[in-house]
């Protein structure tokens, strides 16, 4: 499953961050394999989405989230 397929309320753990121009920026913002991510809410029409990780909130588009493999933890 990728982060794109998640729904608000889900809690996931990052498995890998796929290759993209954004990869290093995403990693710099703390999206590292093993990081716990909570899906908070979404903009109108469901995209972009708001995430909570490392005690802060981050918004990203679903297209970019599709590069991030995750598995649900609870």
């Amino acid at each position: 499953m990728t982060l794109k397929d998640t729904k608000p309320g889900m809690v996931v753990r990052i498995d890998s961050v796929g290759e993209s121009e954004l990869k290093q920026r995403l990693m710099t913002m703390g999206l590292i394999p093993g990081t716990r991510v909570e899906i908070l809410n979404s903009a109108p029409f469901g995209d972009p989405i708001a995430l909570r990780l490392r005690s802060y909130n981050l918004a990203m588009r679903r297209d970019d989230a599709a590069q991030i493999e995750v598995s649900e933890v609870g």
Partner: protein, 633 residues
């Protein structure tokens, strides 16, 4: 002893600027870093008999030199060795904040780690053991509480007492640096090396977090509760419209406009008569009196009139920005802006365009990519700014007395639609760089520090005051000259003035739009200098006593002008075409100057002048000729 140099560095949204403002107050200078549109803030203070020079580096998440801000910080540390570097850390978000800290340590920069907003962190169940953090890095750790003046002043003692040479990086840090050096020498592909280093940094951060920080589960934060309304689904759009409606209501009706009226009254009833009497008494020549009263005071006064409005709007915007709400606006508007080839972050500058295009164009600095910045700058002028309102209001009242509100609304709507359509056109023709991305921190909602809000508003607004003032001053002299002189010297009859010749030459362009009178042509030309000038030029040229053209009161002005030849100079359809043209054509000179500065190039200024005018010409042509085909007149 030379001044002690202190540099503040840290992530965005850490309260770094608030600390800087608290330390330096009004004794700060804001300039630009060479070659980029990033603010450079420096302040000099004295403490315990020691001069301290503080520099506020732009907020960045890293120093990878991917953005202008990161480039500035990275270059700064390459060429400067400040005595003290303070890394401001948002304690409630310590994990990600430490990324920059680790990166700075790798570059051999000794740091004071200042944990800000400790109170907020504790509310969120985050407890930081400062002693253990100090041991983990081998660097001194201090703390401040958000807006507490006292805790920030305490930092000054730390600056004057700190002996950075007493601190050496810990074993843990040295091991990490060794690991980074090994990765750099590993021979892996450069991108891979960078990724491994990023992972190694978070690996170290997780270790330090485990030893010095305890995070206990806290319930839903206030921010999350608010965001479930303000940044969630379609409701959020409705709430946003309400918030902005309130903002414009406050700026334009409740506070800004009444203040503007007071300033205007002072000009009309005190300054102008006083200047006239003084000059009369001093025996100043007639032409000079006319230049000062009808030219300079009238022209500059029109601009000064807008100052209260602009500052009120800026104060509210800085306040909203300080609360963290603006990030939510970008978030909820991204789905719409993305479809127009822009990013959600562009919405802010466009919204500001309803007030004035000048600050709106400047606000585009905050956008991520070159593409977003350029397109946003180029479409902002289509938005109906405050100075275009008199044109629309007057023509609607004169030629569509039964449909005033509908016509005004339609004009606003036309401006927005044109901006969005042109954004789409520009992004698919001139700026075909890859679709911009959208990665944005949503900072926790906070009550902004009032000092910071006021300083920011002043910083943004004073540019308008100074620049617009100087340009308008020059322009007033020029208009006065053109409408009072011809090749034979000074003339009483405006029909023979230079302005009339210019107007009749220009008006040839508008034959297909049905408004090819020299008066309309002259109004279009003066409108480039300032949009307010369109209506006042019409008033002067159609032979109405200038004093009775009160642009605040469209109905009254319409009645007066209807009695003149203006009523017969336009048909309703050509009036509509004129409104459309005035709404969309070249932005005023001040805005053009701002485009030149922000897009960094004279050619972009020329481009904006010609393409907006071309769009206006074509759209007004369609309105006029299309209207005729449909049988309107």
């Amino acid at each position: 002893m030379s001044a002690l140099s202190v540099a503040l560095t840290g992530n965005p949204n850490t309260g770094k600027s608030t600390i800087f403002n608290e330390l330096t107050g009004a004794r700060q200078k804001i300039g630009n870093w060479p070659g980029v549109t990033v603010d450079k803030k420096v302040g000099v203070i004295e403490h315990n008999g020691r001069k301290i020079s503080v520099i506020d580096l732009p907020g960045t998440y890293s120093i990878n030199a991917r953005s202008q801000e990161e480039q500035v910080v990275s270059d700064y540390f390459k060429t400067n060795k400040p005595d003290i570097v303070v890394n401001i850390i948002d304690a409630s978000n310590i994990s990600r904040n430490l990324f920059l800290t680790v990166q700075l340590m790798e570059n051999g920069i000794p740091l004071i780690l200042n944990l800000n907003m400790m109170d907020e962190a504790e509310r969120h169940g985050i407890k930081i053991d400062m002693k253990k953090l100090e041991d983990a890095f081998g660097m001194p750790v201090t703390n401040t509480v958000g807006r507490s003046n006292k805790s920030v002043r305490k930092l000054l003692d730390v600056f004057t007492n700190a002996v950075m040479t007493n601190y050496k990086p810990s074993k843990l840090i040295n091991e990490h640096i060794e690991r980074v050096r090994n990765l750099e020498r590993s021979g892996l592909a450069p991108a891979k090396v960078d990724e491994e280093i990023i992972a190694a940094r978070y690996d170290l951060i997780d270790k330090i977090m485990a030893s010095a920080v305890t995070v206990s589960a806290a319930g839903k934060t206030l921010t999350e509760k608010l965001d479930s309304y303000l940044a969630n689904g379609v409701t959020s759009i409705i709430l946003m419209i309400a918030i902005f409606y309130l903002m414009f209501q406050i700026s334009f009706n409740w506070i800004g406009q009444p203040l503007a009226d007071i300033v205007g009254e002072f000009f009309d009833e005190t300054l102008v008569p006083w200047a006239a009497e003084s000059m009369e008494a001093a025996g100043v020549e007639g032409w000079m009196q006319s230049l000062v009263s009808d030219g300079i005071i009238a022209g500059v006064g029109a601009v000064i009139n807008f100052v209260p409005l602009i500052f009120t709007l800026f104060i509210i915007l800085s306040f909203l920005d300080g609360t963290g709400y603006m990030a939510r606006v970008a978030f909820i508007m991204d789905p719409i802006m993305r479809r127009a080839g822009l990013s959600g972050k562009s919405i802010m500058p466009l919204m500001m365009g309803f007030g004035c295009a000048v600050p709106a164009i400047m606000a585009n600095r905050a956008l991520d990519t070159h593409k977003d910045r350029m397109i946003s700058i180029f479409v902002t002028p289509f938005i109906t700014c405050n100075a275009k309102v008199p044109i629309i209001a007057l023509f609607a009242a004169m030629f569509f007395p039964d449909n005033v509100a509908n016509v005004v609304f339609a004009m606003y709507f036309l401006g927005i639609i044109t901006a969005i359509v042109m954004a789409k056109v520009l992004s698919s023709t001139m700026f075909t760089e890859r679709q911009s991305t959208f990665l944005l921190e949503l900072p926790p909602y906070r009550l902004p520090d009032i000092k910071t809000v006021l300083l920011e508003a002043w910083d943004k607004g004073k540019g308008y005051l100074i620049k617009a003032g100087t340009i308008i001053f020059a322009m007033s002299v020029i208009i006065w000259f053109l409408s009072n002189f011809n090749s034979d010297g000074m003339t009483e009859d405006m029909d023979t003035s230079y302005l009339a010749s210019i107007g009749s030459t220009t008006s040839v362009l508008f034959a297909p739009q049905g408004f090819d009178t020299w008066e309309a042509g002259a109004s279009v030309v003066t409108g480039i200098l300032a949009k307010e000038a369109v209506v006042s030029t019409m008033g002067i040229l159609y032979g109405v006593d200038e004093d009775s053209v009160d642009t605040d009161d469209a109905e009254g002005t319409a009645e007066v002008l209807n009695a003149t030849s203006m009523g017969s100079a336009f048909t309703p359809l050509s009036a509509l075409a004129f409104m459309v043209f005035s709404l969309l054509y070249s932005p005023c000179m001040t805005a053009l100057g701002t485009v030149k500065k922000e897009a960094q190039g004279f050619k972009w200024m020329a481009f904006v002048f010609f393409y907006t005018t071309a769009v206006a010409w074509v759209v007004s042509l369609i309105v006029y000729q299309g209207g005729r085909l449909l049988g309107f007149e």
